[in-house]
Symmetry: C2
Subunit: 419 residues, 2 copies
């Protein structure tokens, strides 16, 4: 991708009406555009980050048997009345509107009821179970406030998965498989060591649900963490009884601010009973399906990664999420320099390395500042000086000084690098 | 993909409340689920078809310089008031709702104003132009009626692209490049020979826009077609003056029913003037940007392909759009047959062939009927008979009798086959 062809620009100016660090940086770097409070467009570089996160999540969900589909934003009132969740007193984040004939419709803030209604068409026997469906859906939520940038918006992308199982054992096996899959996701996107499976509020069926909480100063949650035993408890359930049950003492716990990047929930058969989602078992008896739901906030995850790794120079993307691996800067307009930079761009692109090639006629300082602000993992410079030395200048975004590398050495660093 | 793991099922029953052929077949085959009138969920096989269409469109848009982004569904009132298009008297398909503080919001039925507002942040000089942005967006339109299945829904996926150019010449060059790119898209998805660039209503700036109309009995449009001169005119502009201007006589024209799968539109500088989208030219003068918009209905295209190619046995997918290339059916439960089918499944999958493997313990007739209903291009059968002969039974979905093939011959037919 050539900068000269990319329509977005960077800016040094802080966006006027934006207090969240993730949105400030992402706007300054040209990754997102604010459309209204809590609503952002994802520009070419921002969309690439989202797609990289989705690809990782998709791989891990498919690996445990998830089947991808896509539900609708428009939701019928009757469906949500079956569980009492159409009522604004029960769910306070609905956006609602009406068809021309007056029929009320809602916009999906969740898709639990919709997925169950869909699965009902296909599940009638124990032979049809288990079944695991997931989607990447744009959720619309009428949040009272929206001040955390892309970490909590009125419109955001979520991966939501639902499991349909014959009984508690079959449910539990998938629930555990999902915990492991989620751990792999967070490991791969670079926040594994700071993300904790956390005990949180359950529902009618279970005492606890599980959240995946990532240590992050910009987060909206508080957890209590026992690093030694690797146990984390959301503040909301951190009463003495819970701590005793988990075998941890209050004075051993560390209080940390976190952002919830994922959650998993065991519905038991409550929702199935509300919606009459049943199957016939081997004995010919009617049984209600055991349901679980499993979310990962895709755009929130992007925001958390932006917040966590940014430094005073700008964004810092982990290799697995970066929109490009290499920021290639040609310095000056000397024809030989341009030809050499063009050649390297083609060479790297041919080897499957994604390159943001700053081929603009702007001063070197601006190119370096942009490379840093955008957080591209590796900066490579071609200049008259490097050309004369038969080298390329290579520098990682964090933790490394500029090195003068031969072409072979450069390729070793940027073709299929490990994190 | 194993049928035993796929949660969807086929059904012989026609859906009760569905009159459109595309939706009937797609529901029967388990590709889509109707959530409400004009609103469908895309189940695993249906989503695969959408993603294949999107991949083709994305390739062709990138090839002409398009940059992909994604705007939001939520739209602010003030933005659309700048062009007078917030008014329900002007635009009668808005879904609208309100934030908690009473601020009205709309849901994107189009994104012209939103994209222009975004591009305004980045375009100030002639050096910033041209710029071409596109997205795959879920559009919400409050249609009075929704009776054409996925060919006209209240919620649908559209690729919409916008071009920003310095002047009429720069605009025209991209407009022509897009016509060629669209022709390649429709060729690749299998409807090229039945799709016509069609003169249609223009706007304040141009006499005509151009639609891409595909011959389809289920379509909602009428065009007049001059096959000899390869000229098509939408009924709405087929007056004597237009025909004279195009050099065609009414009695040479064929009247055909069509579906609009794409359209392209030259706004000139009208919208830019309304929204003050300007740049400074080489002489330092303020100029308004020339705008164009370019749409392809992704889900509609899927519906048109479903309608056009279906036969009395079910769907027929062109190879380029099929959710899987091969429907592999094992007949009976003999251990050797199962082992051989498993082996072939792994072999084909390893070679990059996508296979829907019917490994269920159901009678052969049901497997054959499903393969036909789902419209998978090639059916391969493994049975005690084929095993004894050291062959596989191979049959294309259309236009071919069953053949008994060796493994090598089978691979030649299904690995990287041409359409």
């Amino acid at each position: 991708m050539r900068r000269s062809k990319l329509f977005t620009k960077t800016t040094k100016n802080l966006p006027a009406d934006e207090t969240s660090r993730n949105a400030q940086l992402l706007i300054q770097a040209g990754f997102i555009h604010k459309e209204m409070a809590g609503v952002y467009a994802y520009l070419p570089l921002g969309l690439r980050v989202i797609e990289r996160i989705k690809a990782i999540v998709r791989e891990e969900m498919n690996a445990i048997g998830g089947e991808e589909l896509i539900m609708s934003s428009l939701q019928p009132k009757e469906l949500w009345e079956t569980t009492g969740r159409w009522d604004d007193e029960v769910v306070d984040v609905w956006f609602k509107s009406a068809l021309k004939n007056g029929t009320e419709v809602g916009f999906g803030w969740s898709h639990e009821e919709a997925i169950v209604e869909t699965m009902k068409q296909y599940v009638s026997s124990y032979k049809d179970l288990p079944a695991y469906a997931y989607q990447f859906q744009t959720k619309l939520r009428n949040e009272l406030r929206a001040k955390s940038g892309i970490m909590r918006g009125r419109e955001f992308v979520m991966k939501d998965m639902y499991s349909c199982s014959t009984d508690a054992d079959q449910h539990e096996a998938f629930y555990q498989a999902t915990i492991e899959a989620y751990n792999r996701v967070f490991e791969r996107v670079g926040i594994g060591s700071d993300t904790y499976v956390t005990f949180a509020s359950g529902g009618a069926f279970t005492q606890f649900s599980h959240e995946f909480q990532t240590i992050c100063d910009a987060g909206e949650d508080i957890i209590y963490l026992h690093r030694g035993k690797n146990i984390a408890v959301n503040e909301e359930v951190s009463d003495d009884a819970t701590l005793a049950k988990l075998g941890i003492a209050r004075d051993e716990l560390e209080k940390v601010k976190t952002a919830e990047v994922g959650n998993i929930f065991n519905f038991g058969t409550q929702k199935s009973e509300d919606m009459d989602f049943a199957f016939t078992n081997e004995q010919g008896e009617k049984q209600f399906v055991h349901l679980g739901s499993y979310g990962i906030g895709i755009t929130r995850l992007m925001g958390v990664v932006a917040e966590k790794f940014a430094d005073d120079k700008g964004l810092v993307w982990p290799l697995a999420l970066a929109p490009c691996t290499v920021y290639l800067a040609s310095l000056g307009t000397d024809a030989k320099v341009v030809a050499e930079a063009d050649r390297l761009y083609d060479l790297l692109t041919d080897r499957g390395v994604s390159v943001l090639y700053d081929d603009r006629d702007v001063r070197p300082g601006q190119k370096f500042a942009d490379a840093e602000l955008m957080g591209i993992p590796y900066r490579v410079v071609v200049s008259e000086k490097t050309l004369a030395a038969g080298r390329f200048e290579f520098q990682p975004r964090v933790g490394g000084e500029p090195q003068q590398l031969t072409e072979d050495a450069l390729l070793q660093n940027v073709v299929s690098p490990s994190q």
